[in-house]
């Protein structure tokens, strides 16, 4: 192939790398009102009185809004296809505030200083309630986070809000209890995964204005322009047709921007004042007033028969969705959806549990979206099982993992069409020298090295729901414009989609202008999340390009007065296969815009899939643990990836490296910590430590391409799967090194050392007792 499979630089690379003003805050007009949010200092309270008079009178203050000034219709902020599987439990401003940082008032002023001053002049009396801060005791807590009557859900996911339950979920195939009883060996363990922050470098920001027809135009750092448009329509109670959302270059998202976070505040200010308005969240707000990964508790029971076949998998979960439920039900479902299918020699599987409300910042979307939490739990349990069975952890997986061509255990009608996971494991083993290093090697100076592994799957788009379209037009200069609604947040999706179109049309990427994303112009796309862009939008692009190619051939043939079968198109001209008549693309294009009876040439494509072909990764970690301090140094991390066909090797590799490092962060360094009043303490880069350059060791990435027949050029996805393996692989490596099983993330030197000392103490006690007994016996 000419373009697909090539490591082309991103089409926006030079501009964004050299600091050109192409991001949201660079584009805002000078006189836009600055919007700031006054926030609740209490984790759970109700506003009794709110006095904004003095603040309103401050010079430069344009408007101050409270819960009395906003529509009373509840909505969800989740970026999901309509009808959303999320409870409509939000208002733009609510009388009740449900976490420290929940919005209390919207202040718009001519500049930031004035807005901040105005905020200090607002007087609020709260009635403070006892907050629900521990998700393990949320169920049946005397405080009800959402007592209101007007929560609406499109689906019945077993909400019981009086018990603070958002969802009760269960997926079951076969009789898990019976199968576990029949198993020769059963392991059981409870795992805790922490909330994690997306920590993208560009915080949340948006601005909007009213255009020449009185429509609201929003420019936002968002992954979901179409969902933002629809959600705002409901939240503001104005028609969707009155809203336009434009997404410029954005500085990262990782799922954080798959949620409407700031747009409603500026939107309502502009509607009330008629003036442009902007909002920029600082880092503190980004950490503490948006969304994080859902913290979860997952209890896993795994049973295997004598031969080492895993016959039963039972996962019971509890997920903390915080103050609002936007992504609660869906992330929870993904825990089971993207773990249980891996081991398909099972006779029974079950995933069940609950998602609960608490008075903390809401859980949202973060790369992996439930699969990350599930992978940590399941893979850690598989490693534990391997040890109990005395089988090599790689061997037990090769024995039990689903292979290409087989069916899933939870969806027995679906065949796995592409997988090279077996080859990924074999390759990874070799690259890390697994056989020499497993399980551990002692070094000098109190150090010991251990190796560990884990595998994972994810999806490519949401089956039967994600539907994307693309349009490609031949312009009058012989160039093409590709119109997309997907949202490149730095990943390079604009570039790889252009590569796909270029491949079909046999042209260079330089001949394609990519336009994305503007809801007035772009074809519909859910946005870039759920690892959908390469697979779903990609197929739409391929179909659009193929349709256009067909039209070019037919139009060219018509002009040359031959039949379409007699001509071919080589990217530059349409010419006869046998014969010497030809017409250049440029000329064809020019002609298509002149005169009577010529149609400009446009190709459209749409794609939605009944399946979500999983990408796979086998991850291997080598750690070095200092026996005296518990300090863990990550020496080597190897990821071998099956994402189907690789569209752009450089960009794919960087996705893997970036995802691994985020996974390393979740495994070892990142934690969201609250104090006992519900204040988030890790609300800065000073306290919340994402990995720095020195924290990551050596990364090695390799690919084992498979071919997904339903995907563009055989591609699947890569965006999320990359974050899932480090936590379980590193935990495994630490266990192999020093015998400490960390089941509660993150894995810190303190946990490791204190447990080592604890184990040493226990074995000393045991030894003493044995000695004592021995002495007793000898008397």
């Amino acid at each position: 192939m000419n373009t697909v499979g090539k490591s082309l630089p991103k089409i926006d690379a030079i501009a964004i790398a050299t600091g050109k003003p192409v991001y949201t805050d660079d584009l805002v007009m000078n006189n836009a009102l600055v919007v700031k949010i006054l926030r609740s200092p209490h984790a759970f309270a109700e506003i009794k009185t709110i006095d904004t008079i003095e603040a309103q009178e401050l010079k430069g203050v344009e408007c101050i809004l409270t819960y009395l000034d906003v529509p009373k219709v509840r909505f969800t902020v989740a970026g999901q296809s309509y009808p959303e599987p999320s409870p409509y439990d939000r208002l733009i401003l609510d009388k009740m505030v449900r976490y420290v940082g929940d919005a209390v008032a919207i202040v718009a002023a001519v500049d930031e200083q004035t807005a901040v001053k105005a905020m200090s002049l607002i007087n609020i009396q709260y009635e403070v309630f006892e907050p629900v801060l521990n998700f393990e005791t949320a169920q049946g807590h005397r405080s009800i986070v959402h007592p209101e009557d007007d929560i609406y859900s499109h689906f019945d996911f077993g909400m019981n809000k009086e018990m603070n339950i958002v969802t009760s979920h269960k997926v079951e195939v076969g009789d898990v209890e019976q199968e576990l009883q029949n198993c020769h060996v059963v392991v059981e363990e409870t795992y805790y995964t922490q909330a994690q922050a997306q920590a993208m470098m560009e915080t949340y920001r948006a601005f909007n204005y009213l255009d020449h027809t009185g429509r609201l135009v929003i420019v936002s750092s968002t992954q979901i322009p179409f969902h933002v448009r629809r959600i705002l329509s409901r939240a503001l109670q104005i028609p969707i047709s009155k809203i336009r959302v434009i997404k410029p270059r954005i500085g990262g998202g990782f799922g954080g921007k798959q949620t409407l976070v700031v747009e409603m505040y500026t939107a309502i200010v502009t509607l009330k004042t008629g003036k442009p308005a902007k909002i920029v969240y600082d880092r503190k707000e980004t950490f503490s007033c948006t969304t994080s990964r859902h913290a979860m508790r997952l209890k896993v029971r795994l049973g295997a028969d004598k031969e080492g076949f895993i016959r039963a998998v039972d996962i019971e979960g509890l997920s903390d969705t915080g103050a609002y439920g936007e992504h609660g039900p869906t992330t929870f479902a993904v825990v089971g959806d993207k773990t249980l299918p891996l081991y398909n020699k099972t006779k029974a599987v079950r995933f069940m549990g609950k998602v609960v409300y608490t008075n903390k910042m809401p859980g949202g979307a973060l790369r992996g979206y439930g699969a990350t939490q599930g992978t940590f739990a399941l893979e850690s349990a598989v490693n534990k099982l391997a040890e109990k069975l005395n089988i090599d952890p790689a061997e037990i997986r090769l024995k039990n993992l689903i292979q290409e061509g087989e069916t899933y255990s939870i969806n027995v009608n679906t065949i796995l069409r592409s997988s090279s996971l077996y080859r990924c494991i074999e390759k990874g083993r070799k690259l890390i020298s697994w056989d020499e290093k497993y399980p551990s090697r002692e070094l000098a100076n109190h150090k010991v090295r251990g190796v560990g592994m884990a595998v994972t799957m994810q999806g490519s788009g949401i089956a039967n729901i994600d539907n994307a379209s693309a349009e490609i037009r031949l312009q009058d200069d012989g160039y093409f414009s590709l119109l997309l609604g997907s949202t490149d947040m730095g990943t390079g999706s604009d570039t790889i989609l252009a590569q796909m179109a270029a491949e079909v049309l046999d042209i260079s990427v330089e001949n394609i202008i990519v336009n994305a994303a503007d809801t007035d112009v772009s074809p519909y796309d859910p946005g870039s999340y759920a690892s959908s862009t390469t697979y779903v939008t990609g197929m739409a692009v391929v179909r659009a390009a193929e349709e256009l190619k067909g039209k070019i051939l037919r139009q060219g043939a018509k002009i040359l007065e031959v039949s379409p079968e007699e001509v071919e198109f080589n990217g530059k001209e349409i010419r006869m296969i046998d014969g010497n008549k030809s017409i250049s693309l440029k000329r064809l294009a020019e002609l298509s815009f002149i005169g009577v009876g010529n149609l400009p040439l446009v190709g459209n494509g749409t794609f939605g899939s009944p399946i979500s072909p999983p990408p796979f990764i086998a991850g291997f970690a080598e750690v070095e643990v200092d026996r005296e301090t518990g300090k863990i140094d990550l020496i080597d991390y190897i990821a071998v990836v099956d994402c189907g066909t690789i569209i752009n090797p450089n960009l794919a590799k960087i996705q893997v490296e970036g995802g691994i490092v985020q996974g390393i962060g979740m495994a070892m360094y990142e934690d969201v910590i609250y104090d006992d009043k519900g204040h988030m303490q890790t609300n800065s880069f000073m306290q919340y430590k994402i990995p720095s350059r020195k924290d990551i060791g050596r990364l090695q990435v390799a690919f084992e391409p498979s071919f997904e027949p339903t995907g563009p050029f055989g591609a699947k996805s890569i965006g999320e799967v990359v974050i899932n393996t480090p936590a379980p692989a590193i935990a495994h490596a630490v266990y192999n090194a020093v015998g400490v099983r960390v089941t509660k993330l993150p894995i810190t030197s303190e946990k490791v050392l204190m447990e080592m000392l604890n184990l040493k103490e226990k074995s000393m006690q045991l030894l003493n007792r044995k000695e004592w007994r021995g002495k007793e016996c000898n008397k």
């Binding site: 200083q113 901040v116 005296e628 301090t629 518990g630 300090k631 070892m668 360094y669 910590i673 303490q681 890790t682 306290q687 430590k689 990995p691 720095s692 350059r693 020195k694 924290d695 810190t748 030197s749 303190e750 050392l753 204190m754 000392l757």
Partner: protein, 265 residues
Amino acid sequence: MFTIDNLVQPETLEEAYKILTEKRNNTILGGCAYLRLGSQRIGTAVDLSKMNLNFIKEQDEYIALGCMTTFRDVEISPVLHEYFGGVLPKAVSNVVGVQFRNIVTVGASVYARYGFSDLITPLLALDTEVQLYRGGRMSLEMFLNKPLEKDILATVFIKKSAKKAAYQHLRKSASDYPILNVAVSNLDNQWIIAVGARPQRAAISRHASEELSKGNMTNEKIDHIASLVAEELSYGTNMRGNAEYRKAISKVLVKRAISEVLQWK
């Protein structure tokens, strides 16, 4: 959000001190990395940048560091590499990043007596004095223990000698605050053991230092000294670690620092 009404850049310390003490909410500016985190209402902020106080000078008996010397200046200073096993450059090199170290100043860090400081711990293990504009010259230890009074810390003096020193630290991630740090020095069998980021600020473990100075260096002795340090000093709990863990690793870091010093011939 903090506010400053007025910013001045005086040319002499005398002028600076006068302005500083004019009003309660007048203050000297250091690197400002911490200033921006707070909500102080500052009247006049005094910037010492125009006084050429960013120097590292080797004098006859001392090395003198001006208060506006940055951590980065310390990190790359040939003089400070030459002496004391290069312990000062080593210690500050862990702090956040190069750009950050180009801003953070020696004077502000010492004056603020930060618990997490990577600079104060090794300074305490060396023969360090500070020169205050009003309070005069005194040992660093005395400065750290005296009540806080408004003053300007103008210079830090470190006595030159053949003293050997080592620095050990433990961090959760490389650019984070330390969970604990340790500096150990030895000159003619006079040992000093200092432990910082406990999370309280650095302190000398006197008893342990004296015991160590009695000689007879064996592995058992070193273990014993390390235990003495863990007993003598107090440790606390914060987001980076709990007291029990800090106590446990203080033993290890002290041991390692002592061994490192012993290896310097």
